[in-house]
Amino acid sequence: MDYTIATKDHEAQVLMTGRLTFNDHAKLRALIKEMLQNASKRQVLDLSALEFVDSAGIGMLLIAREELSNLDKQFVLRKATGQVKRVLTVAQLGKLITIED
C-alpha cells in the first residue's frame, strides 16, 4: 500500500493505492500518526484506488477511528469499490465509521 496526503476544502484527503494487508502495519501506523498530527478536523481516506484489504487492514482502520476520535477528529472512508467495498459492507463498518460514496 502507498498513500499521499493532500489538504483540500478543510479536510485532509489521503489517497491510498495498492493492497492494504498485514504487511503494511508499520506504514499504516505512520499514516495514523500523520493524521493525528495534521491540523484538519476531518480526515478522509479516499479508497477509490485501493484494490484489496485484509482483516489486519480492517483492524488498522478500527485503530485509526478510535485514535482520531480521541482527538475529536472525524474519520471518513470514501469511494470504496470492489473487494474493499464488499468487506466494509459485510463487516458493517458504516455503523462505526462514516462511509461516503
Partner: protein, 404 residues
C-alpha cells in the same frame, strides 16, 4: 598505511581491527603448504585479537580439519602440492554441509582469467600475494561479520518458525476430533465434515461444535484477524469464551452478542474476529444463525436446486462492545446441506477480477454439483474451491459442511 605489528593505527583508530560483532572467537582455518606463510597470517590475525586460529599444511589436511569441525572462515592458498586450492574449493562446494562457508583465497595469480577461475571454483573473495595486512584484515572481518549476521538471522528465523509451529498445534488442538464428529452423527444423525487449507503465515481460522442446553447442535466458524502467534492467542481467548457462554448457544444472536462484549474487553484495539454461529433445530427443520462480518452461509437443497445464500452482515467481534447481532433463519430439511466458509474464497474470486462475487461463487458451486451425486457433493465442492484459492492460499481457507 599502518603495516607494522599491533592493532592500533597512529590515529588511535584501527579501521581494520576486530569487528564490534562477537567474532574474535570465530574459528578461522589457515591453509598453506609453506610454514612461513601460515605463521605470517597467524601473527596478523592474533595481533588483531582473533583467538581461535587453526592451521592446515596442505589440501588433504584442510579437508580433514574442515570435516572434523567446520570453521567460520577458511583462508586458502591456491598453489599447493597434491590437492591444490581449486580442488579443495571444488570439494567444499560439492558438499551441502559446507553451504555458506566463506573461503578467502590467497593467490599470487594476478591475471583476470586466473581470478575468474578461482571465483568459478567457489571462492568467496580473494586476497593477492604478497599479502597486504590492511586488505587481509578488512576482508577477514567482512566475511566473519557476514557469517555471524547470517547465523543470528537463521537462529531468529528458526525461533519464529518454532513459535509458528506451536501456534499451529494450538489451532489443531482446538478443532473437533473425528471421534467427536462420529459420536455427534450417532446421536443426532448430522454429518459434519470440514476441509482446511492453512496459509503459510497461519491465518486465524477455527471451527467447532457446541451443544445447546436442550441438546441441539450449534456450529461455529471463526476467523481471527491477523496472523501467526497473535491470532493464535486470540483464538484461545475466543475458544474459551465459547465454552464459557455455551449456555446461551440456543439463541445464536444473543450468544454472538455476548461473545462480542467479552471479546472487546479481551482483545487489543484493532484486533477482531469474524464469526458465523448457527444452531440446527431438527424439530422445526431450520438452521438459525448470526453472523459477525463473515461470509454468507450457503444452503444446498436436495434435488439440484441452485445454491441459496444467507445474509451475513454484522460488525466483527471485538470492534464495538455494544454491537447488536441479528438472528437469521434457513429452512434445513432432511437431505439438505449447509456450507460455511471463510472469506479466503471470496477474496480469491475478487482478486481474479470478478466484480460480482456471489454469482461467480454460485457458478463454481453449481458446476461442481452438476457432475456429482449428493454423496460426493462435498468432495466435489472442495476440489473446485481449492483450485480457486490456490495451495497454500494467501489466507486460511476453511469449509464446514453439515448435512441432514
Amino acid at each position: 598505511m599502518n603495516s607494522g605489528p599491533g592493532p592500533a593505527s597512529p590515529s588511535g583508530k584501527d579501521l581494520v581491527g576486530l569487528s564490534r560483532l562477537p567474532v574474535a572467537n570465530s574459528p578461522i582455518l589457515v591453509v598453506d603448504d609453506i610454514e612461513w606463510n601460515r605463521a605470517l597470517i597467524g601473527t596478523l590475525l592474533e595481533e588483531t585479537g582473533y583467538t581461535n586460529i587453526r592451521y592446515a599444511v596442505d589440501g588433504a589436511d584442510a579437508l580433514a580439519k574442515i570435516a572434523a569441525s567446520i570453521p567460520d572462515l577458511v583462508i586458502l592458498d591456491i598453489m599447493m602440492q597434491g590437492i591444490d586450492g581449486f580442488e579443495v574449493l571444488r570439494r567444499l562446494r560439492a558438499n551441502p554441509d559446507y553451504d555458506g562457508l566463506p573461503v578467502l583465497v590467497q593467490t599470487a595469480l594476478s591475471g583476470v582469467d586466473d581470478r575468474n577461475r578461482a571465483f568459478d571454483a567457489g571462492t568467496t573473495d580473494l586476497v593477492t600475494k604478497p599479502l597486504e595486512r590492511t586488505e587481509l584484515l578488512a576482508r577477514v572481518a567482512i566475511h566473519l561479520e557476514n557469517r555471524s549476521l547470517i547465523r543470528s538471522l537463521q537462529q531468529y528465523r528458526g525461533r519464529l518458525e518454532d513459535e509458528l509451529e506451536m501456534a499451529r498445534k494450538i489451532f489443531e488442538h482446538m478443532l473437533p476430533t473425528n471421534d467427536t464428529l462420529e459420536k455427534l452423527k450417532a446421536t443426532t444423525g448430522l454429518t459434519i465434515r470440514s476441509h482446511m487449507l492453512r496459509s503459510s503465515e497461519l491465518g486465524g481460522d477455527i471451527w467447532g461444535t457446541v451443544r445447546t442446553a436442550d441438546g441441539r447442535v450449534g456450529i461455529y466458524l471463526l476467523d481471527l484477524a491477523g496472523q501467526g502467534v497473535s491470532a493464535a492467542l486470540n483464538v484461545c481467548r475466543l475458544h474459551s469464551l465459547i465454552q464459557e457462554f455455551s449456555g446461551l448457544a440456543g439463541e445464536p444472536a444473543r450468544f454472538v452478542s455476548e461473545l462480542n462484549r467479552h471479546a472487546r474487553e479481551l482483545m487489543v484495539l484493532g484486533e477482531h474476529a469474524k464469526m458465523t454461529f448457527g444452531v440446527i433445530s431438527p424439530a422445526t427443520d431450520c438452521f438459525t444463525y448470526a453472523c459477525a462480518a463473515t461470509c454468507n452461509p450457503v444452503l444446498l437443497l436436495p434435488g439440484g436446486a441452485a445454491p441459496i445464500f444467507g445474509e451475513a452482515f454484522g460488525l466483527p467481534l471485538g470492534a464495538d462492545a455494544n454491537a447488536v447481532y441479528e438472528e437469521r433463519e434457513f429452512p434445513f430439511p432432511p437431505g439438505a446441506s449447509i456450507l460455511l466458509h471463510s472469506n479466503a474464497i471470496l477474496d480469491a474470486i475478487d482478486e481474479t477480477g470478478a466484480n460480482f462475487t456471489r454469482p461467480r461463487f454460485s457458478d463454481i458451486l453449481t458446476t461442481a454439483l452438476t457432475s456429482t451425486d449428493q454423496k460426493s457433493a462435498f468432495p466435489a465442492i472442495t476440489v473446485a474451491l481449492d483450485a480457486v484459492v490456490g495451495n497454500p492460499p494467501s489466507d486460511d481457507h476453511t469449509l464446514v459442511w453439515v448435512s441432514r
